[in-house]
Amino acid sequence: MPVLEKVVTWARIKSPWILHFNSGACNACDIEIIAALTPRYDIERFGIVLKATPRHADVLVCSGPVTHQIKDRLIRIYEQMPEPKFVVAVGTCACSGGVFKGCYNVSEGVDSVIPVSAYIPGCPASPAAIIDGVAKLLGSLKQS
């Protein structure tokens, strides 16, 4: 990757572009992720922008325990994201499979399929917890 692009990409980590993906979740975490974007929580004031394609995303925000149907697509989306990239597992299901752990057709959470940088537990994870988790991830990146 040319030097200029690398600098631009690292600058975006301070205000990352995120891609939201549901890997077979019940939607509770998804509506809290979207609530984080709405006026009361307003995650956009941190410069966080929701993107529609993995090719523009720095951070993949992933809910759900990863069903069998969706596993390949999740891997493909991760592969399409440019480096440097980070994955946030939102919700207990994404962290470990949650209540669905052990069910046929379900993996044991996002890190059984792709590497995860940050885990935000909760059933669902509240918007405050999501913002807290993303902020911590960004903080740890700035330090490194």
């Binding site: 069998h68 052990g102 057709n105």
Partner: protein, 168 residues
């Protein structure tokens, strides 16, 4: 709304008169809930009569079950008065063949595909379409809802197996 069972009793009488095989196998659990069991040989005539003559023109869902030696299938029907009549029949597990009801209910195919995928029914006349709900690469002959089916040994035990069973 009163809890009389007049309509339910009328349904019970009419059906038993028309299909004596239902005698003793049709019960009114409470208002708006009738459960009936019929041998598969008479199932189609009974189903046809229920839908066409008795106007049970709503199919809410089809439930498949594993009865051990046989597979069971229950059609939860309703009509304008919104009572639910659940009609149950069984077929041998060695030859679990049933007919599609999509000619009566075009939206029944989702429920029928579940019977195929999860219990191993063969539904004759099912219109072409994607399987549901399992993936195309799901191994053949593996029917998760059968009682003797367990996930592969590599899968971790369920929480229920790990925990002690206790009240909340």
């Amino acid at each position: 709304m009163t809890d009389t069972i007049q309509e339910e009793q009328a349904v019970q009488s009419e059906l038993t008169a028309k299909f004596p095989a239902l005698g003793g196998a049709i019960r009114i659990q409470r208002s708006r809930r009738i459960f009936a069991r019929i041998p598969h040989e008479q199932f189609h005539d009974c189903f046809d009569y229920l839908v066409k003559d008795m106007k049970f023109n709503i199919l809410t869902v089809i439930t498949g079950t594993d009865e051990g030696e046989s597979l069971g299938v229950m059609y939860h029907l309703s009509r304008e008065s919104r009572i639910v009549l659940s009609l149950f029949t069984t077929v041998p597990k060695q030859n679990p063949v049933i007919q599609t009801v999509t000619p009566y209910f075009p939206a029944a195919d989702a429920y029928e595909r579940e019977l195929v995928d999860l219990l191993g029914f063969q539904v004759q006349g099912l219109p072409p379409g994607f399987r549901y709900p399992l993936t195309d690469d799901w191994p053949a002959g593996q029917y998760p809802l059968r009682k003797d089916w367990k996930p592969s040994p590599a899968a971790p035990p369920t929480q229920a197996e790990k925990n002690e069973v206790k009240d909340v």
